[in-house]
Amino acid sequence: MDIEIPYSVEERPDTGLTSPKLGIWLFLASEVMLFGSLFSSYVLLRSGAEFWPTQSDIVNIPLATLNTAVLISSSVTMVMAWASLKLNNFARYKLYMGLTFLAGVGFLVIKTIEYAEKFEHHYYPSTNNFIGIYFMLTGLHAIHVIGGMLVNGFLWGPGAKMWKTEPEKFVNRVEVAGLYWHFVDLVWIFLFPVLYLL
């Protein structure tokens, strides 16, 4: 059974958008609320606390800074992957998408080192409110990174066959995957100062 999903290439006249593009933005809007409510909980927990630990004594700022650079770089390779397709350069696309995926792997490896360090110091989500919300927010973010990597990996590997049959649709898929991936980067841009530096 092969159902043709309408408006995945041409824009829908009433929205002026392809449906996947509108869909991903609405999904990202719900993601804003998911992370937003957690950030808001953080504000409430911290401002209402009698005592709040010095965050920089607990977290690893150099590792998190490195991870920030890794994630920003992966956002750039992601847009370059899309731009390469726009320039009909499939080999360049494979290179940039591959790099984006590897940057995701790198981010998770660094995150694992960070978590292992926390457990070594016996810092668990139950230790205090800060460590609890630290694990909650960074963990949820890491799950989002994994989700993005699954999609990016698919578009790099088996999904890339579509370039031969329906190139325009494939370019749109890469763009939509990119929108999600940049959002994950965007969340980290706020997580980093809030959890590590303030």
Binding site: W25, M33, L44, S47, A69, S75, I189, F192
Partner: protein, 130 residues
Amino acid sequence: MSHSHEDIHKTIRSYVMVFVALLILTGVTVGVSYIHLESIGERVALALVVAGIKASLVALIFMHLKAERSLIYYSLALTAVFLVVAFGLPLWTESDKIVGTTHKVWDAGVQVPAMPGHAEAAAGEHGEGH
């Protein structure tokens, strides 16, 4: 949207510039956190302003929000309203203090400092039986 190759090359240049800007701003974020600012308010404001600039660059350039359809702007504007409420509620709660104490409503079970002028009475009765 159709892009000519020339447009794409221009776009790629803007991506590279944003990349450099984001790395510099990350350096600024980390650097600023080592400057000893007296007030926590100043530190928070500074960190959030830099993060806001970085996020705007990502959204406008990488996510192509700079030139997007109005329907997406409307959806995001509505999201922004809800986000303000999500942050407004805890801040409102936070400002709702029991008059004459430094404590908040949910701390009512905690022993609160006596109000000025009632110190002697509080010392004698110690909370119970008001």
